[in-house]
Chain length 223, copies 2
Amino acid sequence: MREVLARTAFQLFLERGFERTTVDDIVARAGVGRRSFFRYFPSKEDAVFPDHERCLADMTAFLAAVGDAEPVDAVCDAARLVLRMYSANPEFSVQRYRLTREVPGLRTYELSVVRRYEQTLAGYLRDRYGESGDGALRAEVIAASVVAAHNNGLRTWLRSGGEGDPEAAVDHALGLVRQVWGSAPAEGASPVAADGDVVVMVAAKGAPMWRVVQQIEAVIGQG
Amino acid sequence: MREVLARTAFQLFLERGFERTTVDDIVARAGVGRRSFFRYFPSKEDAVFPDHERCLADMTAFLAAVGDAEPVDAVCDAARLVLRMYSANPEFSVQRYRLTREVPGLRTYELSVVRRYEQTLAGYLRDRYGESGDGALRAEVIAASVVAAHNNGLRTWLRSGGEGDPEAAVDHALGLVRQVWGSAPAEGASPVAADGDVVVMVAAKGAPMWRVVQQIEAVIGQG
């Protein structure tokens, strides 16, 4: 019933526009009462994004179960759950992306959802980094970076009309975040390099930090 | 008139709550007609944040005039314009922060405003980095990082009730972003270090990137 209502609502939004479609229109076409609609969706906006609540719950469960993975990798993996929700249904995702661009109310709704994902990731990172020192600050900045990178990859794919490999676009974007914020040590390597390998790095004083990082990254092969 | 209306509106929001205050209540107390209110504010929410439009315009103008400053430093400086708007009126800012925490509609409004600041910063960085390669990706991730860091510092100050030095809190938070994303070369230094100084850095293979960056940062004294 929930899925039928979401599908019916979305069909009507495409046909008549979001603003001009009422909940009465939706339930009339679906052949149910208004109460059925509001049992599943608090608002018309929620019917456009029927899977985010489940995805947020999945993300929370994933992070609770992830164990002692490298924290930045853990939140990158958690963010990929969102991508997979979109890529599971490319046609719907692309149509919804176009609809959302046109309706300010849907854009605002989407911002609220994105913020909840970001807070879920930041909450996990705060627990991992601890509240002392810059733990909370680092958690919030990394969560925002991960969300921005993920959404850059996702949007690139949505804008292209769902062509190409969305996983590759998002992996590439998240790679930039992992590059500067940390990555899991290679399998079997301890943080002090069990095999004793070291990198000797020569950099000009005053070189922009991101260039230095890129150079190191190229040498030690992370990301 | 605009300022009187904003002040009257805010006083009523504090007295009666945001939801229970109507535009009619506001204009009645201010002694003007409804039209005057809507001439200055498209909605009740806008009256709670009367200075963001001006601040967004200031930010755009600042970035248009900033010249060839190091791009990450430029967006950090641009973000500080928002802080200064808040710190110019601590009591109002703290009261509004508390009100916003309680009213979902104001939180959503604030998210939209924050997004516009972020897009302003990202647009500037895209122009600086160019559209080719990862220019747009880097622009969006850095803009999100700057906004997250700025807001972390700002919120710390607002939560404390406006105690202490908000500039110091925000500078510290932005320092983390500048540390990983780049900073201006020291005065007079070219990107290849005019005085020939170099840093030799030894790091364990597999060390988390942020720790490597912290070490380098400590040595070359950026941030």
